[in-house]
């Protein structure tokens, strides 16, 4: 049980910043955004995180300024509470326990002692907008159970609800209709758009809604890129609307400026559109924002806008449509081909970021340090295009070198491969492209590893590929009379019986290289590139390879596709032990002799990944004890 205690999960961040609309403080000095279980307070001027408001026990789903005190902030969460914060000092003032999963939060200046929340009733798809009365009490934690129903069968996204004319009415959109509830009259008007399947109306779906701050005007965004401005909607017959059309794809969010003179809209085009005076011909653009605009918000003072993007970024924009600050969170691409790496120099987490980029993400500060453009080509955002993908990356020589592999495969037989080697430039504090190798292998590269031993003066890189070869690349002098330069060349090509090379790994001191060829592990002398010995366990293709470190440097660990973890003794050239563990990721701890292996265990029907640390120096019984914990 000692091992269990030694494994402690520390939440370092990397949560979605774009989950909900960001909120500005009344003086536009701060911007608030949800971030997992926290609310983050950033400075709009310096982009720095000023406070982290911690206290919710589940995802925060909504934040709003307290309309009666602009130095306080309300937040709601899936944990069923509404919390009131003093954001200047970062203190929790009060907790209101509602007891239901809260999906969104709205506040109104006219409704002093209540807030509006979206809750989920009974069926999984039926959401309701209810008003929650917040009782006045001096205690820290107060039960708020007095709910009054406002609107039923609404969309769960807060983008689909908007309050207008100082809380006289609330507009909600879902599918093909807009419903407006008037608080005074207690009536609901419903306006339905044609939803017939013909080509013209098929994409009439509502996507978002915004209300004009001064006039009775509702703006709705649609799936076909249209924006409709509804007026006279207090009359079921005389209502009228006008269309604004620029977006070619779905309108993701809408926001009116504080005075209502302009309307902001954004979508997948990554362009912020400002419609002035709600006229089609009078519009301004802020293009090239990098990724799909998910949310737009406007500061109460009216001097700033901000857009939240699908690449987990918030851009603060001036009234004159100039981007002034970028708050970048961890970019979550759908595929992280490179896996997780740590930059030895900055200790930053390195992985796939924006398309074609490597992101350097500081775990200590929970913010992105920078993006390295690897592919260096214009990214064309279109459905169905086959993009160049950054598939492998590795750091070598204490962060002096970075190797990357990119590939694009349009057809089975047409593979485009490129390997790039980047040198760290101390002057510019960044990586500079040194060598570009076209088609380093005939087939997919399966692994990439640098020799990180201290005694090796000459940087060495090994690549293994499905074409059955592994290649050793070394840095050579590339100087001529004009300049001093270095470059990488291939030094050795190795293969083993035409088997596909599946992985490769250097030992700690760099004297041995292990390359796995399907089911067989080969050990090579790194001085002479001679085959020293082979291990074959016939337990399936080797997926992961890892040398032991420090006192365990005589061991080599290999994990196979069939869920077998093997440990070979390099001195006796024999199998030391093997265990049944379906390893997904295996990584050595650079500071100890421990090796972390993440295995996939099936609990019930869904799968979850459980981390395990094994220490190769320990006896076989210890390993088996660990596996029994699965």
């Amino acid at each position: 049980m000692v091992e269990e205690e030694s494994v402690r999960v520390v939440r370092c961040g990397g949560s979605e910043l774009n989950f909900r609309r960001a909120v500005f403080s009344a003086d536009s000095k701060y911007i608030f955004c949800v971030s997992g279980d926290f609310v983050k307070v950033h400075s709009t001027a310096t982009e720095e995180c000023v406070h982290i408001l911690q206290g919710h026990r589940n995802l925060v789903t909504g934040i709003q300024l307290n309309p009666n005190n602009h130095l306080q902030l309300y937040s709601c969460s899936f944990d069923g509470t509404v919390k009131l914060w003093d954001y200047v000092d970062g203190i929790l003032i009060k907790t209101f326990v509602v007891g239901l999963k809260l999906h969104a939060l709205f506040t109104l200046p006219s409704a002093e002692d209540s807030v509006f929340v979206i809750i989920n009733k009974e069926k999984p798809d039926v959401f309701q907008l209810v008003s929650v009365k917040l009782p006045k009490s001096s205690s820290q934690e107060i039960e708020a159970k007095e709910l009054s129903f406002v609107l039923d069968y609404i969309n769960q996204s807060p983008k689909c609800i908007a309050f207008g004319n100082e809380g006289e009415y609330v507009a909600a959109v879902r599918d093909f209709y807009l419903s407006v509830y008037f608080f005074k009259k207690k009536t609901t008007s419903r306006f339905t758009l044609s939803s017939s399947r013909n080509k013209k109306h098929a994409k009439n779906n509502f996507t978002c809604v915004a209300c004009h701050p001064k006039e009775d005007c509702i703006a709705t965004g649609h799936k076909d890129g249209k924006i409709r401005l509804w007026r006279n909607f207090d009359d079921d017959k005389k209502y009228t609307y006008t269309c604004l059309h620029w977006h070619h794809d779905m309108v993701m969010d809408l926001a009116f400026s504080v005075t209502g003179t302009s309307l902001l809209s954004g979508g997948r085009e990554s362009v912020l559109v400002e419609w002035r005076d709600a006229t089609e011909k009078n519009k301004e653009f802020l293009p090239r924002l990098g990724a799909t605009i998910e949310h737009i918000s406007v500061s109460p003072a009216g001097d700033l806008f901000c857009t939240s993007h699908s690449d987990n970024k918030i851009i603060v924009i001036h009234r004159n449509l100039e981007a002034s600050a970028v708050i970048q969170g961890l970019v979550k691409d759908s595929n992280i081909f490179t896996g997780l790496m740590v930059d030895p120099r900055t200790k930053a987490l390195v992985l796939n970021g924006k398309p074609g980029h490597l992101q350097f993400y500081s775990l200590q500060h929970d913010k992105q340090l920078y993006n390295l453009d690897i592919i260096q080509q214009e990214y064309i955002n279109d459905y169905g295009l086959i993009q160049i993908e950054l598939t492998k990356a590795a750091f070598g020589c204490y962060g002096n070198w970075l190797a990357t592999v990119e590939q694009r495969q349009e057809k089975e037989t047409e593979l485009e491969l490129q390997m790039k080697l980047w040198m760290y430039n101390k002057k510019t504090q960044g990586f500079v492209l040194n060598t570009k190798v076209n088609m380093p292998h005939e087939d997919h590269i399966t692994a990439l590893c640098f020799c990180n031993a201290e005694k090796f003066e000459n940087p060495t890189l090994v690549t293994s590929s499905k074409d059955g070869h592994f290649k050793v690349w070394i840095l050579t002098d590339d100087s001529d009379i004009y300049k001093k330069a270095v470059g990488w060349t291939c030094d050795f090509v190795g293969s083993y019986h035409k088997y596909q090379a599946t992985n490769c790994c250097f030992s700690e001191d760099g004297s041995l290289l292990a390359v796995s060829f399907e089911e067989i592990v080969t050990i090579w002398d790194s001085e002479t590139w001679e085959l020293k010995c082979t291990f074959c366990q016939r337990a399936g293709k080797i997926r992961h390879l890892c040398f032991g470190r420090l006192t365990c440097s005589k061991y080599l660990l290999g994990a196979t596709e069939n869920g077998i973890l093997c440990c070979w003794n390099l001195l006796s050239c024999a199998l030391e032990w093997s265990a049944k563990l379906n390893v997904r990721v295996m990584e050595p701890d650079p500071n100890s002799e421990n090796i972390a292996a993440i295995s996939r265990s099936s609990v019930g029907s869904d799968c979850k990944y459980t981390p395990y640390f094994d220490n190769t120096s320990k006896s076989l019984t210890k390993i088996f004890f660990l596996t029994s914990l699965i």
Partner: protein, 590 residues
Amino acid sequence: MDAFGGPIWSMAVSPCGSQLLVGCEDGSVKLFQITPDKIQFERNFDRQKSRILSLSWHPSGTHIAAGSIDYISVFDVKSGSAVHKMLVDRQYMGVSKRKCIIWGVAFLSDGTVISVDSAGKVQFWDSATGTLVKNHLIANADVQSIAVSDQEDSFVVGTAEGTVFHFQLVSVTSNSSEKQWVRTKPFQHHTHDVRAVAHSPTALISGGTDTHLVIRPLMEKVEVKNYDAALRKITFPHRRLISCSKKRHLLLFQFAHHLELWRLGSTVATGKNGDTLPLSKDADHLLHLKTKGPENIICSCISPCGSWIAYSTTSRFFLYRLNYEHDNISLQRVSKMPAFLRSALQILFSEDSTKLFVASNQGSLHIIRLLEGSFKHLHTLQPQSGTVESMCLLAVSPDGNWLAASGTSAGVHVYNIKHLKLHCTVPAYNFPVTALAIAPNTNNLVIAHSDQQVFEYSIPDKQYTEWSRTIQKQGFHYLWLQRDTPITHISFHPKRPMHILLHDAYMFCIIDKSLPLPNDKTLLYNPLPPTNESDVIRRRTAHAFKISKIYKPLLFMDLLDERTLVAVERPLDDIIAQLPPPIKKKKFGT
């Protein structure tokens, strides 16, 4: 009468209808007094620098707004002096255009002047202070026309891009009385310039270069959303433009400024139903008759024998004699028209081509006997006292005894030509007549109305026929009543007295009076039944209306003889091909 100001660019009648404003090329605005018998010059307003393109009266009649080039002037009617001169921005999308032409102005009762101009702007001006209140840039091209509703709560503008925009006066918030003009819906029903728009209480009407007249009902003003509330697009005039000489197989086509005479081709080949037969003789273009002057042709007719052509413009009447010598034809104008034959609304020749009937726009009907190369005025049937209605449709019976005439509002009068007097009047009906014809032998008058009702009236009996009463009792099929275009021509088969042949722009129909009438459950547009189907089913499904929609748009169809039918189609693409190219608009994805 001459206004003595060069070409007249605009006119506006005062709200009370007693005064007329005329805007001239030289920049002058002239006021005329309208009296029952003449129009009299009253006075000049302050002369402006450039031509006056648009005029609008204030509903109270005290002020007028005049749109010129680059500015709008507001005049005081009493003093005739310009109160304000409102300069219009020439800027067009940031680029200075040469001139900004004010194509239209509208003066509202609250003193607001709305202007539309060539820079694509709709602007609201305060006429009391002469300042710009609001500006809507709506098009990249000219905005050419404007029409305001009577309640002044909405107006419509038409642009050169073919778009029609609707503006509405809506309240800013539900609980305040402040109102603002908002551009609401755009309608793109035209491909070319929208030159004219109109705002009826329940619909927006627009028309322009692309020859379509579009009636777009305002849904919020319509009580029931039925077929009557649907959008209508009218492409062809609801009149017959083609006449035919059965004897010589000639067709006379009436265009705006010319007439064309064609001889039909013929064939000797025979074939099955549905075959296209090769022509042994091609159609001949015999004549191209151009009018003199700028006036449009109102009506035209060729005599059944083919030796006379008559047509009329708004102020002149022309009669020509055609002489045929083998393949050559010669045209001879019949000169010395009598003074009363100044213009005609409808011209008709009798079946034996000896008489010419002219419906003049003063309401009288002239009967003229045609002799070889000359004519003689026989009689003028004066309208009944008290009515000023002009006759615009005529029909003569094949035996030449009866003449039926119908005016714009209901009432069909039947005259006995032998006695030259009114025989009877068909009971009045609420909808105007669109086509008239008298059947041979029976002398039954068949009348088609614009609401798609068809009546049969027996002239000798002075009453509706039995068949007409039956169909009125049972009612027409709902699909028949929902057709868009009116019946423009009715004819009869000489050997089949039970058949009535009629057509509109989209279908041709033979009504067989011997068959049972269809009810709403039967299929109205049944295609020809397949031959293998048994006779019983065919007989059961057969009904009085045999409809063919093969030819469309159908402008004319008539029997030449017992076995030949001529149909004239006017493909819309041909008309569009003759139009100037529309303004090129950037379309996304092209």
